[in-house]
Symmetry: D3
Subunit: 321 residues, 6 copies
C-alpha cells in the first residue's frame, strides 16, 4: 500500500498513505470548535479534507510543507472529490518525510532538462546575449531548475519553470527552421530568460505563494532589472542596441499591455516568443484538464483560458487515427 497515490482510490475506498500538506487553514465550526481545512498533495494531484476538533498541538503540527501519514476514506462533496480523515500524524524520520519527494514534478528529469537547455545556450552565438544568459542562469541556477512556472494554472509543478522554458525552446527550433530572417540567438536568449523573474516572484516549489517583490514589481520587470544589473557586472552598456533588443523581447512577451507587458512586440522575435509562450501554456492547461476527463465528456472549465471547458473525444476505434 505504501506506494499508492491519492488518486489511486475510488469513492468510498479507504486509504492509508503518506502525503504532503499543501495548505492548512484554521477555521471555527458552527459548534464553536476549531478545525483545519487541509489540502493534501502528491504527484498524482491534490485533494481537500477537514480535520475536526483540532487542538493547539494539531494546529502547530499540521502546517504546509509537512509530510503526514493519512488514514481516510475517499468521498465526493458537491461534485468535488475530497477525503474524510480518520487518522492523521506526522511522518517519522524512518518513514518517507522529504516534501520534495511528494511534489508533482515535471515529466522530464532535471538533469535532462539542464543538458538540453545547455545545448541551446551553446547556440546563442552572439556574445553579449550569451554572457547575460550565462550570468543570470548561474545566479538563479537552483531556483530556475526547481521552481514551478506558476502558483496555479499551467506548469504549476516542481521544475515547471525550466520544463516550460525547454518546451518553448523546442518549439522555437522548429519555427527557426521553417522561416527565414529570424535571429536565432535573440529568440533563444529571450526564451531562456523570459520567465526567469519568477524565481523572485514566487516563494519556491513547496506551498508556492507570491513574494512581496512578486506582487509589487512582477516577474517581467524583475528580470528586466536583473538584466540591467548583469550588464553593470559584466561591464556591458545597458543602452547599446543588442541589450535593448534582448530587454524588449522579454518585456513584450505577454503580447498585450493588458496582460502586463509594458510594451507590445515590435521585433519579429518578440512576436514569436509571445505566441510560443501562449501556445505552450494553452496545451499544458488543456492536457491537464483532459487528464481528469472521461472520453465523451467535457473537462472542468479552465480559468486561464477564459473559463472554457474542453471536450474529450469518445474512445472509439473509428475516431482513432
Amino acid at each position: 500500500m505504501a506506494n499508492q497515490k491519492l488518486f489511486d482510490f475510488d469513492v468510498d475506498e479507504v486509504m492509508d498513505i503518506f502525503v504532503l500538506i499543501k495548505s492548512a487553514d484554521v477555521r471555527v465550526a458552527k459548534n464553536g470548535k476549531r478545525f483545519l481545512a487541509l489540502t493534501f498533495e502528491d504527484d498524482s494531484g491534490e485533494l481537500a479534507g477537514m480535520y475536526w476538533d483540532a487542538n493547539d498541538e494539531d494546529v502547530s503540527l499540521f502546517v504546509p510543507g509537512k509530510v503526514v501519514k493519512l488514514n481516510a476514506k475517499r468521498e465526493n462533496y458537491q461534485g468535488k472529490p475530497q477525503v474524510k480523515i480518520t487518522g492523521l500524524r506526522l511522518a517519522k524520520e524512518t518513514e518517507p518525510h522529504d516534501p520534495s519527494y511528494f511534489l508533482p514534478h515535471a515529466p522530464e528529469k532535471r538533469s535532462e532538462i539542464e543538458a538540453q537547455i545547455d545545448q541551446y545556450i551553446f547556440e546563442i552565438t552572439q556574445p553579449t546575449w550569451n554572457r547575460i544568459v550565462r550570468n543570470l542562469l548561474q545566479k538563479h541556477h537552483e531556483a530556475f531548475f526547481t521552481f514551478p512556472a506558476a502558483k496555479t494554472n499551467h506548469h504549476a509543478f516542481a521544475g515547471g519553470l525550466s520544463f516550460h522554458t525547454l518546451s518553448i525552446l523546442n518549439l522555437a527550433k522548429s519555427v527557426v527552421s521553417q522561416y527565414e530572417g529570424i535571429d536565432t540567438a535573440l529568440l533563444y536568449a529571450g526564451a531562456i530568460l523570459h520567465d526567469l523573474g519568477k524565481t523572485v516572484e514566487l516563494s519556491g516549489p513547496v506551498s508556492t505563494s507570491y513574494t512581496v517583490a512578486g506582487n509589487l514589481i512582477g516577474h517581467i520587470s524583475l528580470v528586466d532589472g536583473e538584466i540591467v544589473a548583469a550588464c553593470q557586472t559584466l561591464k556591458i552598456d545597458a543602452q547599446q542596441e543588442d541589450v535593448l533588443l534582448l530587454r524588449h523581447v522579454i518585456l513584450a512577451h505577454h503580447g498585450l499591455l493588458e496582460y502586463g507587458s509594458p510594451v507590445t512586440p515590435h521585433l519579429l522575435e518578440a512576436e514569436i516568443l509571445h505566441r510560443l509562450d501562449e501556445l505552450d501554456a494553452s496545451v499544458m492547461m488543456i492536457q491537464g484538464a483532459l487528464g481528469h476527463t472521461k472520453p465523451g465528456e467535457f473537462s472542468e472549465r479552465i480559468f486561464g483560458l477564459d473559463r472554457r471547458n474542453f471536450y474529450k473525444e469518445t474512445d472509439n476505434d473509428e475516431l482513432k487515427s
Copy 2:
C-alpha cells in the same frame, strides 16, 4: 531592361518595363479633365501612378488584369513611392502579356506544395475525415492551389492559400511530435480545410475582391456548409461525432467570437490550429514589412497586427549570430 522589376529602380530613375494593372479608378481633376489612378504590380510589389487626361479609349483599355508597357520615372510623393507615367500602352501578343506571369507568387512551386499536402492527407488515417478532405480538395482543387489567402494582409499572393495551409501543416507536425494526446488526423484535416472557404469568399488570384457569398456568409460558414454537403454526397451522417469534431475545429479556428468564429475552441486540436494560424499569419506579415525596411529603422505600421510597426536590427556583425 526587359527583366527588370518595379522595385529595381531608385528615385528619379527612368523605367521601361512590362507590368500588370492591379486597380484602375477613373477620377476628375480640378481642371475638369478625367484621369486614371492606377496601381501597377509585378512580383516585386506594387506602385501607384496617375495617368492624366485619359480619353474614352484609355479608360476602356487600361483596366485591372491587363499587362501594359510602362514608361515612367520613379518618384516619392508624401513619403510614399510612386511612378510618374510618361508612356503607357497594352502589351502586344508577341510580348509578355499573361497576367499570371506578373502576379506575386508563393515562394515555393505549386507542384512542390501539392506533393507535400498530399503527403499530409495520407497521414489522415481516420476514414471519415480522410474522405471529406479528399472530396472537398478535389472539388475546389484548382482554386485551392492558385488563390491567395487574402485580399490584402498576409499571404496576399497567387498560391498563398495553399502555401499558408502547408506552412501550418509543417508547424502542426512539430507540435504533434512535441506533445502527447493530440489527434494528428483531426489536426491535419482541420488545417487543410480551415481556409478552403476562401475559394468561394474571394474572386480569384487576379484583382482579388470579395464575392457576394464572401461578404454575406464568410469563409468559415462557407466551408462548414461544404462539409455538410460533402457528408450528404458521401452518405456520412453529418451529426455523427467525428463530423462534429471536424466542423468544430474549423468553425473555431479564429479563436474568438469577435474574430468571426461562431464558437470558441473546445477541443485541444481546435486551440492548436487557431494558434498556429495566428503564428503563421503574424510571421508572414512581419517578414513582408521588414522586407521593405532598412536596418536600424522601423517598418510601416501593419494593419493586421494592431497597427504595430517592427524594428529591423542594425546590420552589425556584433549583432549577427
Copy 3:
C-alpha cells in the same frame, strides 16, 4: 389538494402534491451520509429541496424526468424559497405520472401556434425560400413544436421555441406594414428558421441540456448546415443569391460577432430580425421576472439582461391607465 401547485403555498405551509423532478444531484453530507439535492417543477415554477440519508434505491428512483408525490413544508433558506421534504415516492400508474403534464407550457395551445405559423408560411411567396422552409419544418416538425427556446432564460418552457417564433412573426408583420422596401418573404422565412437549430442544440423539453452538437457547433451553424443539406435534397444551388440571402439573415441574427453570429447584419431584413428577436426575448424575460415581484418592489436580477432588475409599479389606481 390534488390540483394545487408548488407556488400555491406560503412559507411554513404543508404541501402534498404531485410534481416533476427536474434535476437530482447526489452529494455527501458532513456526517458522511449521502443525500439528494433535488429540484421539483410544475407549471407554476420550480423549487429546491434536500432528500437526506438517501439509500441506493432512492438514488436510482428519484431521477430527473420522474413524477413524484411530494410531502413537504414550504420554507425560505438564505432568502431563497425551498421545500423541506417529509415524504417522497414515485407516482403510481393510477396517479398523474406523465412528465409532460407537469412541464411549464407556452401560453398558447400547440394547435393554434401551428395554424398561425402555417399561415405565415403561406405568405412566403418566393419559391426557393418557401421550399426550404417547408422541407426543414417537416424534417424537425415534432421537435420544433415541443422544444423550449432555451435551457434557462427566455421561453424556457415546453413549446417555447415555436411560441417565440410566432411572436417574432407577429412583430414582423407590424413592421412590414409600417415601412416600405422590406422583403416580406425573406423576413418571414428567416424568422421561422432562425432558431430551428435549437432542435439539435438542445436535448428536448424535459430536463433540457445541451447536446454535444450544441456545444461544439451551436444552433446558428447547425441550421445553416441544415439549409445547405435541404438545398442539395431539393436540387437548389446553395450558391445562388436567394439562398445566400436566407443563410445571411439567419447567420446574422445575433447581431454582433461577440454574440455568436459569424457575420453582422448586412441586409435590412437581417437587421430587423435581429432586433425583433432581442425585443421578444427581453419582454419575455422581464414579464417572467415581474410575475414573481410585488408592486412597489424590484424583481430579482435577470442574468440575460446584464443582471438588471426591474421595478414593478405600485398597485395604484392613479398610476393605472
Copy 4:
C-alpha cells in the same frame, strides 16, 4: 427645367436649378486665392461644389440658408458625386427663395403627423403623465413639428423629430397589443417626450447644428429638466412615483450608459421604448442608404450602424415576393 432636382442629373449633364446652400467654408487654394467649399441641398439630397476665386462680396452673399440659382455640370470626384459650378447667384424675390421649400421633408405631411400624435395623447389616460405631455408639447410645439431628429444620421430632415416619434408610437401600439402587462400610458408618454430635448439641443431645421446647451447638457438631461419644471408649473410633486417612472423611461431610453443614458432601463416600458427607438432609427438609416444603391450592390457604410454597409437584392423576379 425649373422643377428639376439635384439628383435628377446624370454625370456630365448640365443643370440650371434653384437650390439651398447647406454649408459654406472659406478656404485658400494653392495659388493663394480664396474659394468657397459649398454644399447644395434640396429634397432629393445634397451635393458639394467648389466656387473658385471668391471675392469679398461672394463670401458675404453665399452663406448657409440662402437659396441660389446654380449653373453647373454634374461630376464624380474620387468616387463621390459633386457639381462643377459654372454660374451662381442669389435667388431673386420673384423667384423661389424660401429656404424651407428646399429642405428635405418627412414623408408625411405635418398636419397628418400632428393629428395622429394627438390621438396617442388622448390614450394617455393617467392624469399626471397626460398633463406633463400636454404642457411640454404646447411649450415646444412649433419646434417639435419642424425640427429634424438629428444633425446627420437618421431622420435628419425637416419634421424628422415628430415623424420619428410617430413611428415609434405606431410600433408601440403593435407591441402593446401583443404582450400583456405593459403600461400603455407610460409607454406612449415616454415615446412622445423621449427626444423632445432635441428642440433645445439642435439649432433648427435649416443648417442644423448643436447649441451650447446641446453640447454641454444633451437632449436627455434637457428634457428631464423640462419635466421637473413642468411639474413645478403644474404643482405636481416631482418626487411622486408616477413622475419618477416617466423620468426613468426617458432617461434610460439610450439603453446603455455608454450611449449617454445616466441609468439603464429598469422598467419594462423603458426597455421597450429603448428597443423601438433603435429599431426605427436603424430602419430609417438603412432605407436611406439603400435608396442610393443599385440592386446587386452594397450601399456606402453607415456611420451610425458601426460602419456596416448593406446589400440590395438583385432586381430579380425570382427573388420578388
Copy 5:
C-alpha cells in the same frame, strides 16, 4: 468595559458591550429552525454574528437601527472576523440607546464642517451660482450634513457626504492657487452641489439603502432636476449660459459615460472636479482598508478600486520619514 468597541477585542476574547444592529436577515437552518444573520456596528467598524433558534419575538425585536446589549466571543470564520453570540437584548432607556451615537462618524465635527463650507460659499462671487447653491443647501440642509456619501465604499459613515464635499473643496483650493484660468466660483459651486442628489438617492444615515428615486433616476439627474427647480423658484432662466455651465460641471463629474455621467467633461472646471472626486474617494477607500491591515501585509481587496488590494509598509524605522 462600557466604553469598549467591537474592534477592541482579540480572537477568543469575550465582549459585553452596546452596539447597533446594522442589518438583520431571517433564515432557516438545516435543522429547520429559524435564525437571525445579524451585523453589528459601532464607530470602530462592523462584525457579523448568528443568533440561533430565533422565536417570533426575537425576529420582531432585533431589527436594523436598534441598539442592543451584546454578549459574545470574538472569532474568525473562514478568514473573516465575526462574533459568537452568547446573549442579546435591547438596550434599555436608561442605557445608551441612541442609534446615532453608535454610527461611525466623519472625523470632523459637523459644526466645523458647516463653518468651513460656509466660507467656501462666501467665495462663490458669481451671483447666479451663489443663489442656486444657497437655495439648494438650505432645502436639503439637514440631510446634507448627516447623510453618508454612499451605502458602502467610500465615506459610508454619518456626515460622510458633507465631509467628502469639504475635502474636495480643500483640494480645489490648492488647485486653484496652482494653475491659472480656473473659474473658482464655478469649481466651488460644482463641488458643493455635485453629490447633493444623494440626499434623495439614499434613505439616510441609519441602515442606508437606495430609494426608488435613487434606483430609477440616480443622484446626478436628481440634483440636475433640483437646479432647474431652483432656477424656476429664483426666477433664473435655466437656459442662460451660467446655469448651463453649472449643470454641466455636475452632470459630467463622473467623467465617463460608463460611470453614469450623461455627458463627458467639456469644461476645465468639470475635468478638475471629476479628478478631485476620484482622488478623494480613492484615498478614503485605501485609508479605510489599510486601517484594518498589519504592516508588511496586503489589505483585503477594495471593490470600488477594481478589486485591488493595498500593501502596508513594514513598520520599520528605516522606512519611516
Copy 6:
C-alpha cells in the same frame, strides 16, 4: 518687427521674422518638382508652410533645428492657420540663430524650478530613497531640466519635464497636508523620478523624437532599470523593501496596464502619484487648447483626452468671479 512672434499676425498680414524649423519633409508636387513641407516654431506656437521648387541646396540647408529668416503672409488653409512663404534664408551669425532661444519654454525659469525641486529632495528624509534620487538626478541633470515631458501633448516644451515634475510635487504637498497616513518621502521620491526615463526615451528639446530605447523599452522600464543600476552603484540591495516600494510607485504610475504600467497601484502613494500625474497633464492640455480658443467657442479636440473639445466661457462680467 524683430521681436514679433509667429502668432502676432492676423490672416493676410505680412511677416518678416526669425523662427526655428521644427520639421522639414521633402515631397514631390504634381508638376514633378520637389518642395519642402516645413513647420516653423517659436515660443508663441507653430505654423506650417510650403517651400516650392526646392533645389538640392535648399533641401540640405532648411533642416529641423535651424533658425531662419522668414518672409511670409499669414493664411488659412482648410480651417488651419499656415504661412505662404515669400522668402527664406538661414539666420546669419550676427543675427539671432540659437535654436534654444526660439523653443517654447516652461513658464518658470530653470533656476527657480531647480531650487524648488532641491527643496523637495531635502524633505525625502528616508536615506535609501534620498540617495537614489540624488544619484539619478545628478546622472541625468542636464537632460532633466531641459527636456520636454512629451513629443506632443502636454508639457511639450523645453523644460517641460522638470516643470511637470515640480507641478506634481506642489500638488502632492497639498495632498500630504490634507490626509493622514501618507509616506511623504516615498511620494516625493516617486514624483521626482516617475518621468525621469523620458531623458532616455526622447531625443532632446529640439525636434523631439523617440529614441530606439524609447520605442523598444519605454520610459517606465528605462527608469526602473536606472534605479536597479543606482542601487548596484550605491551598494543598496535592490530586493530590500524600501527599494521595492519606490520601484512600485514608479512602475504603477500610469494607473492601468492598458496605459503601459506593468503593475497597477497597490500602495496608497502609487495611487496618489498616478492621479496627480493625470490631473496635471489634463489641466496643462486643456489650458493649452483654451489658449487658442475665443470666449463662447469650443477648442479643437484634444487627442490625449479622448478627443474631447473644451468650451471657453463667454467673456461676461456676470460670469466672472
